[in-house]
């Protein structure tokens, strides 16, 4: 790698930004050179997203200077940044739900399609089709974004970025991808990195991810942020993941990442969840399985394998056509999440912002949601108990927040995820369905989550998990259920230290 010798493209010096109660960035320096991929890593709340938002003009820094291509600039807004050739894929998605894929692709940059002031739909369609093919999206371009999967959204965002970088013809555009891989499958991930490597020839790319493996493999240079300050940077070649982790979090991690030592052997007799002959037309065929007390069962399969729909039926979010879900000996009312929750089932959803949190409410309010009845003294909910419960769980889950009274909307993505987890953990559940529990969570937090999961298992809580990676599925689970095309095709035992290898499983999945 010869990146060090190049003239810097974009230089940020002494960037400082504070929010009520937090200093998100404290005199951070950041340099982007041409034709490189920078891996930007750091704990949740380290300030990565904030720094990037400053880079594209969405957030104005309190102090600091920006020098782009040798000239000092101020970026008014994202549109402004776009004209300078800086674009970003946001961590939480930035496509407008009620517009179609095509409309989102070109939103705010339709100039090229104007004919007598009107937009030429035909020209837009053709361009859109080309762009979507490039990122291997087969969806109709007129589908509304609200109706497509997160993976498709992610790819559409990337397509949009690619197209924009071409549109403005700026030499060496800067493309920012904030945790682009969290919702992608392995295959999609490979496609993405192949695309990134190919456009690196004409662009600079900033890649933020909590999957250090892919950062190390795909970037040229790694920059580490901690607590809103520069910690260090290093060339990616030869970088050690453990070393990076050490720098990010401040301590080293054990080799036993998934705490397999603590994996318990569940009692055969006590089944928390029993699913019998559950079926839903068009989604999955009759399926039966069970989860025992303290057992962690991971459910794997490709997109469309039906595993998600099975979980939705178990949670009561969808109604199955046939079959029963029995939780702790009680038959659940189909299609009633409140019955599921009341019977002791918890659910950590994949989309925390829209399904997991009340963003406009405080961390404490979110954490306490499920246990209000327990926090009563007499008939009324006691504020003191509320405060205690919230503080206890904020500490327990190591949520990084200025106070229990901070609005959830102001937490970093990872800390929002921890808040959702805290919410469910604080309620006394018998069964917890974890849909990608570590999505967007940093290594330290992941560790915390694994620790919590093990602790819950010891307390006898059964868990049904769908993880970000197959390794995680294998590492956490006592048992693995494999689904394919709506059917249960395999069941593997995963005893500690003698886990099956990912290769064994992939054969079943695809």
């Amino acid at each position: 790698m010869t990146t060090e010798k190049k003239e810097p493209m974009f230089e940020l010096r002494g960037i400082t930004k504070s929010y009520p109660g937090v200093v998100a960035l404290d005199a951070v320096d950041f340099v982007v050179s041409p034709n490189e991929i920078i891996g930007l890593v750091g704990e949740n709340g380290a300030g990565k997203s904030t720094l990037m938002k400053i880079l594209i003009g969405l957030v104005q820094p309190d102090a600091g200077t920006l020098t782009l291509r040798g000239r000092s600039v101020t970026l008014k807004d994202p549109a402004d940044a776009m004209r300078y050739g800086i674009g970003m894929v946001f961590q939480d998605g930035s496509l407008v739900p009620n517009l179609s894929i095509m409309e989102n692709l070109f939103l705010c940059h339709e100039i090229g399609f104007r004919k007598f002031g009107f937009l030429s739909r035909r020209a837009m369609r053709e361009t859109a089709r080309g762009m979507l093919e490039r990122v291997m999206v087969s969806e109709d371009q007129d589908t509304r974004i609200a109706e497509v999967t997160p993976a498709v959204r992610q790819m559409v965002e990337i397509a949009r970025l690619l197209w924009l970088s071409r549109l403005y013809g700026q030499a060496n555009p800067i493309l920012i991808l904030d945790e682009p891989t969290t919702v992608l499958t392995e295959g999609e991930r490979d496609t993405l990195f192949a695309i990134l490597q190919s456009i690196k020839k004409e662009a600079s790319i900033i890649l933020i991810s909590h999957r250090l493996q892919e950062v190390v493999e795909n970037s040229d240079r790694i920059v580490i942020l901690k607590d809103g300050r520069n910690v260090t940077e290093m060339p990616a070649s030869g970088a050690q993941i453990t070393d990076i982790e050490q720098q990010m979090v401040g301590h080293a991690f054990t080799a036993d990442r998934y705490l397999e030592d603590e994996q318990i052997v569940p009692d055969d007799e006590e089944k928390v969840l029993e699913v019998q002959g559950l079926a839903k037309r068009g989604a999955f065929e009759p399926i039966s399985f069970f989860v025992r007390k303290g057992e962690i069962v991971s459910l794997v399969g490709l997109v469309g394998s039906g595993k998600e729909e099975v979980c939705r039926c178990v949670n009561g979010l969808a109604k199955a056509d046939a079959g029963t879900v029995i939780l702790g000996g009680k038959k659940l009312t189909p299609g009633s999440p409140s019955d599921a929750v009341a019977s002791g089932q918890g659910h950590i959803p994949i989309d925390r912002r829209s399904e997991g949190l009340a963003l406009g409410m405080t961390v404490a309010e979110n954490v306490n949601l499920l246990v209000l009845a327990r926090l009563r003294s007499g008939l009324l909910v006691s504020p003191a108990r509320e405060r205690n419960n919230a503080t206890q769980w904020i500490e327990e889950c190591r949520i990084k927040t200025p106070s229990a009274g901070t609005l959830c909307a102001n937490l970093s993505g990872g800390n929002q995820q921890k808040t959702v987890i805290a919410k469910w953990l604080s309620s006394q559940v018998k069964l917890l369905v974890l849909d990608h529990p570590t999505r967007g969570v940093d290594v330290g937090a992941k560790d915390d989550i694994y620790r919590l999961v093990r602790k819950l298992a010891r307390q006898g809580i059964g868990m049904l998990v769908m993880c970000d990676t197959l390794e995680e599925d294998l590492g956490l689970g006592n048992r693995m259920l494999v689904m394919k095309d709506g059917r249960l095709v395999g069941e593997l035992d995963c005893p500690p230290k003698r886990k099956p290898s990912p290769k064994d499983v992939i054969g079943l999945i695809v």
């Binding site: 002494g14 009520p20 102090a63 659910h347 406009g360």
Partner: protein, 331 residues
């Protein structure tokens, strides 16, 4: 590229910290400041503004706005709106006076139960038939208006023999009007309900994120029905108070309260998008409106300009009271 020295970085964050503190000043304080300033200006204009007699006048006017506002607030907090308060107040007003002639004191519980039932129906049109609350309550409001005219096409006057019953509201105890005591009681009940009970707190969760609430097992149907019941009960109470105060029922009494109740809620800083705000906000909203209404007359503002000034003041008031940190977009 190591981080800069510690001295440098801490000095860089100083202004940030100051800003952080400033932003945390609760909007409520601005609102109270606004009230104080208004009161000061009016008192400057006419000493009598602060007389016990006049403060009592302001309080009685604010009381009605507060009671109907507290109800309206519940539907707004849960993410909806209640436009049926107008029709309901008209209906309850005549129903109350007509029934008080027959069953005396029992008209109070009868009307409250009727009101609650209307709220329950409103709620169910929203939650079961799935008609947006705006339309559902616009519709039921019309129906209630017709019902009011059916009960009595013209204002009905309570016979003097019944003043005793009506003075449960109009009378006073130790020189404090019963209306104020009752209103205070209602305020406390709504406050406790919304802040310290599970059902009440659910209103905020549902208003803030209904999908999440549904998935977290909150009974969103029940919560939204409850919000509508609370709204209708508030409106019914206000209608009863008004009818007592006027010793008669009036089938056109409610119309002005559709907008006024929403205004009281929103002027206090509760967001129409739901989830943020609360009883204290509504109290402030009602007080701002009442102080303006009264103050402009006490200092003798020309009748031609009163409406305009009120319009300007509610804008200023919301400019100060609205907590923009809690809503990502101003709609």
């Amino acid at each position: 590229m190591d981080s800069l020295g510690p001295g440098n970085s801490s000095s860089a964050s100083e202004p940030g910290r100051a800003r952080a503190r400033r932003l945390r000043t609760p909007a409520i304080l601005y609102a109270i400041a606004l009230l104080v300033v208004l009161a000061f200006l009016f008192a400057l204009g006419n000493r009598n503004f602060l007389s016990a007699y006049n403060l009592n006048t302001i309080a009685s006017y604010a009381a009605i706005l507060l009671v109907v506002g507290l109800g309206q607030m519940c539907t707004i907090l849960v993410g909806g709106i209640d436009l049926s308060v107008g029709g309901l107040m008209s209906f309850i007003s005549v129903l109350f006076v007509v029934t008080v002639k027959v069953i005396g004191f029992w008209a109070f519980p009868l009307c409250l139960v009727t009101g609650a039932l209307v709220g329950y129906i409103n709620g169910n049109i929203l939650t079961r038939i799935k008609i947006p609350s705006f339309i559902a309550t616009l519709g039921t409001g019309g129906i209630l208006m017709s019902l009011a005219l059916l009960v009595s096409p013209l204002p009905v006057v309570a016979p003097a023999a019944l003043y005793g019953v009506l003075d449960i509201v109009n009378g006073s105890f130790l020189r404090v009007g019963n209306l104020l005591v009752l209103t205070l009681l209602i305020f406390v009940v709504y406050y406790i309900l919304l802040r310290f009970t599970v059902s009440g707190k659910s209103i905020f969760y549902v208003g803030s994120n209904i999908t999440m609430s549904w998935m977290s097992g909150i009974d969103i149907t029940r919560t939204r029905n409850l919000a509508h019941i609370l709204s209708s009960v508030g409106a019914s109470l206000a209608a009863i108070f008004l009818s007592c105060g006027q010793y008669g029922g009036d089938p056109s009494l409610g119309k002005v309260y559709i907008l006024n109740s929403i205004a009281a809620v929103v002027v206090g800083g509760t967001a129409l998008t739901g989830g943020t705000g609360g009883p204290v906000n509504t109290l402030i909203g009602a007080l701002v409106l009442a102080v303006m209404e009264n103050g402009m007359n006490v200092v003798g503002v020309n009748a031609y300009f009163q409406q305009s000034i009120l319009g300007a003041v509610i804008i200023v008031s919301v400019f100060l009271t609205f907590d923009r940190t809690k809503v990502s977009m101003i709609k």
